[in-house]
Subunit: 197 residues, 2 copies
């Protein structure tokens, strides 16, 4: 096992790549998981920070934190594929919208949701401050704490624990609201900060 | 008609009283609507700003903006009661959570939602700055604009137009999230600000 390492499945995708680069820049050992490691290596070679690349199934085997950053439509198949290869006690962090796998398909793996509201393309502009809050939920204390710790690694991003996994739907509505605000006001980076906390 | 006047039904209640007092303090002519005007007058007499008090049905007759600040369970009956007495072209602003009357029970009255997320007891501490955003939605441009104008009257509160009335559910999820954050973090005033707008 690689202590503290984080696998990001879909780590060269829109949401995943910004997170991978920001975590790597913050000193986290990042393993980018991909269906096509060859192609992923070509992508990550252009990044300023160093990351490992592996096939999705291999990427999850050695880490205790796995971030699912794949498109919504592909997550079920991916979970069937890599779920059994995740370490017992590992934490899965879901950042897809909408949440799909709250049903406990991965025994011995605790699930948290995070990084659902921070705009993907802002995450991807790694030199720009995020300057917002990120909402974390999960039924497992360990999973929530892991996700909050990951959020805390990123400068100017504050993690806000909102409790059980059932809050994921409310978090996703925030994302929908941000999209609506962007569309209506011709912006691109609408995101949220909690006042009074 | 009283130009620019705002009727607040349930204006001595938890959500309504703060809004009534803040609007009055900002120079808006406020008519507090109540089931029991006698009792409402006793309440409003203690307020520092001047407001009128009337029975709900009378309160709506002379104004072009009606705020529904009554408990969720009573709003349907109230709408049946006062809806027919509202002026044609009047705007109804709903701040109950969850939204109940998106179905068009009030012909010739346009509906917007606002003041759903700002905490009632903070609204009620009229000398404290709100320092947050308030989300407004509605299918009618006129209704949204009216609601945004009301929001703009309150210092340090920014109105954010989030589009059609169907966004009300997303706004209500924000409120649910604020409640969850308050509970989890032992706070009372969690509210939201949009970053990047």
């Amino acid at each position: 096992m690689i202590p503290g390492a984080v696998a990001i499945l879909g780590g060269t995708g829109q949401q995943g790549s910004g997170l991978a680069r920001r975590l790597a820049a913050a000193g986290i050992h990042v393993v980018v998981g991909s269906r096509n490691p060859e192609r992923a290596r070509a992508v990550t070679a252009a990044w300023s920070g160093a990351v490992d690349v592996a096939a999705n199934g291999a990427a999850v085997a050695d880490v205790d934190t796995v971030v699912f950053a794949v498109p919504f439509g592909t997550i079920d198949a991916l979970i069937d594929d890599v779920g059994p290869r995740m370490r017992s006690g590992a934490v899965a962090i879901d950042l897809t919208v909408p949440l799909t796998f709250a049903g406990g398909k991965m025994p011995a793996v605790a699930l948290a949701c995070a990084f659902k509201t921070v705009p993907a393309h802002l995450l991807d502009r790694v030199d720009e401050p995020l300057d917002c809050d990120e909402f974390v939920c999960g039924d497992s204390d360990a999973a929530r704490e892991r996700a909050l710790a990951l959020v805390a690694v990123l400068p100017q991003l504050r993690g806000v624990d909102v409790g059980p996994l059932s809050r994921a739907r409310a978090i996703e509505q925030l994302t929908a609201l941000a999209v609506a605000i962007n569309r209506r006001h011709k912006r691109h980076d609408a995101r949220f900060r909690v006042v009074g906390l």
